[in-house]
Symmetry: C2
């Protein structure tokens, strides 16, 4: 399995409406992008001090499946319209993981 992980910190302009639009946009992606095998995202639960604000994890069979997602127009639209204006920091890793 090839897993994509991205964490965000919001910028001060990211309000509740912006965060709701991000969640709605992300929720539509598994139905739009056939290479997605697993997709989970959400706001930090507030358990630990110093955490970032939001996580998205996406699973694919392989790197090629991830690249379809990364470059898919439906994904790019969510990124450009909703995520990019809201983020202050972004950290991402993609990694291969044996089952």
């Amino acid at each position: 399995m090839f897993r994509h992980v991205v964490l965000f910190r919001w910028n001060p302009d990211a309000d509740d409406a912006a965060k709701a639009a991000i969640a709605a946009g992300l929720a539509a992606l598994p139905a739009a992008i056939p290479t997605i095998r697993g997709y989970r995202f959400g706001a930090d639960a507030g358990v630990n001090e110093g955490n970032w604000d939001y996580a998205v994890t996406a699973d694919f069979d392989d790197e090629a499946g991830y690249l379809v997602y990364r470059d898919h127009p439906a994904h790019r639209q969510v990124v450009v319209d909703h995520i990019a204006p809201a983020i202050g920091d972004r950290a991402a890793v993609q990694f291969d993981s044996r089952d």
Copy 2:
């Protein structure tokens, strides 16, 4: 499901032996900590510029299961002995995710 995600950037002193010790230490945790439901970790695949270096994702039934992991002596030992000396930056999020 309650998912814990952490990303690292290594510091300049983190050599291959240190990274191998981290991977070996993490690999032993699912057998040692019974609340772990899923555990995946690995080095960044090098697909994208600007990525961080390493990811760990751990799944639990709920926040309580995560807290058992967070505070478990086997986990703390890997963190103190191997991870803490190797990291330059750390970003983490825990989030609830409906199936």
